[in-house]
Symmetry: C2
Amino acid sequence: MKSEIEVFAPATVANVAAGFDVLGFALHRPGDTVLVEEGGLGGVEIVEITGDDGELPRAVADNTAGIAAQALLDHLGDRRGVRMHIHKGIPVGSGIGSSACSAVAGAVAVNELLGRPLQRPDLLPFALKGEAAASAGAIHADNVGPSLLGGMVLVRSNAELDTVNLPVPDQLFAAVVLPRLKILTSMAREALRSQVPLADAVVQWGNLGGLVAGLARSDYGLIGRSLKDVVAEPYRAPLIPGFAAVRDAALEAGALGCSISGAGPAVFALCRGDESAFRVAIAMQKAFDAEGLPSERFVSSINPLGAQRIK
Amino acid sequence: MKSEIEVFAPATVANVAAGFDVLGFALHRPGDTVLVEEGGLGGVEIVEITGDDGELPRAVADNTAGIAAQALLDHLGDRRGVRMHIHKGIPVGSGIGSSACSAVAGAVAVNELLGRPLQRPDLLPFALKGEAAASAGAIHADNVGPSLLGGMVLVRSNAELDTVNLPVPDQLFAAVVLPRLKILTSMAREALRSQVPLADAVVQWGNLGGLVAGLARSDYGLIGRSLKDVVAEPYRAPLIPGFAAVRDAALEAGALGCSISGAGPAVFALCRGDESAFRVAIAMQKAFDAEGLPSERFVSSINPLGAQRIK
């Protein structure tokens, strides 16, 4: 009897430079875990949440993992009781897809508990519904997509939920640094212009095209030249003390490119090789240190698997 | 003695749907030819232009081919005399890169005449300078790029003139229909909004990313889903009588996607296979017929070579 299922869902870097709202990738760690077991009255019950410093709502209808799991049960017309334990490994509001991660883990865990009635990509709308509870405004799948599916995910259309797993060069590594600072997604979104000058938009999609082409041909130079964001980064950078110094440090240490992860304050760099990524991560952390901002750093290849059952 | 050099430069489809100002491809025909020979006083002299119904300026400083050729001579500090004969195979103002084509042919012809001092990609700025004479506002290399270099060319950055030749699936064919109607690039540009809603811009770069990914993996379905333009097409379509009917006819006849070529009025469709492209071209032409607009049609695979010396 499948009495207990535990699922790990990885953190993600979304808004990958010119890929604002359409491009994200999965890390190997950190991530959230969700454990589910049958029991209790009908529907999802959140038994405990750890690792969140008491910040997250326990009510299923307000919790990203709870909403995603319950939405899946409802869709399947399954009325069984599911007891859920959530362990947050990702700080809330850090810019590496915390809410998406829990939502993905919740949906995948319940799908496993039910004997996997849905294929992995079909879980996307349920995980997105969960993430929506914590998001401001329109829903974008560039966190949920890679956490659920793994890899570097282009969301060709958020409206149609059409995702494309892009090829990833062997030696592509990410350095991610999380300063101890919280940015609400709503605040980060308010910093943006609602209208973009056409000329800037053209620059942005030229770079996105270059990035997708660079990934396809393992052209690290092209990837580096394309890792630019003229639409979101200039407006969100002021929310992150020392961002310019951190980015400069990353580039000086050999990063291909560097930008804000998700809505920030996390900053990511893409690098060629793990050694380079370690050097870059350390340089970025030092730059945050110089701002008096303590931070955590992670180095990871692109996680090709996404959420995984671990028990 | 290299007394005469003749170069053919092919027409191009630019603004490939979501690739507004950054993506274009070369056709096999039609195209312009430029013949050059040494002679005369120093600098370029335009001896004759045919096929233009007398529309194009004969003064070197006002003529796209003349400007490009002279700019190259000036760059090389070469003071010889060059007599130039231009044959326009592309109607002016048709939306398939007429001015770019002549400029490319002029630059390549003079480069050949001089014994090829520059590599092909290094001719880009000279050809662009020529095209600029006929263009409105900012210069974009998505016509000149493919006419000069061949293939499907992404202009990662117009400011840095960073171009990328994208892979092209074997069975990708273009159907292009030119209605007998003239649209000035300046008019087509004025139809655009100078500011794009962020949400539309995101849709656009999601589609551009999908298109580049689809080309890389020969995924015709993804190419088709990505061939959408929410930024320019809706605003330029009213300049082309019957555009909606032409696009619908293309899609009904099996096109992967259909949009405006360049600044219009030419309309292009991408198709899987030449048979499909012929059917689509005929259907598009019929739709223009129904509007009382006579048109020319062309079917072509993506021309991998670009401008070629033919004599």
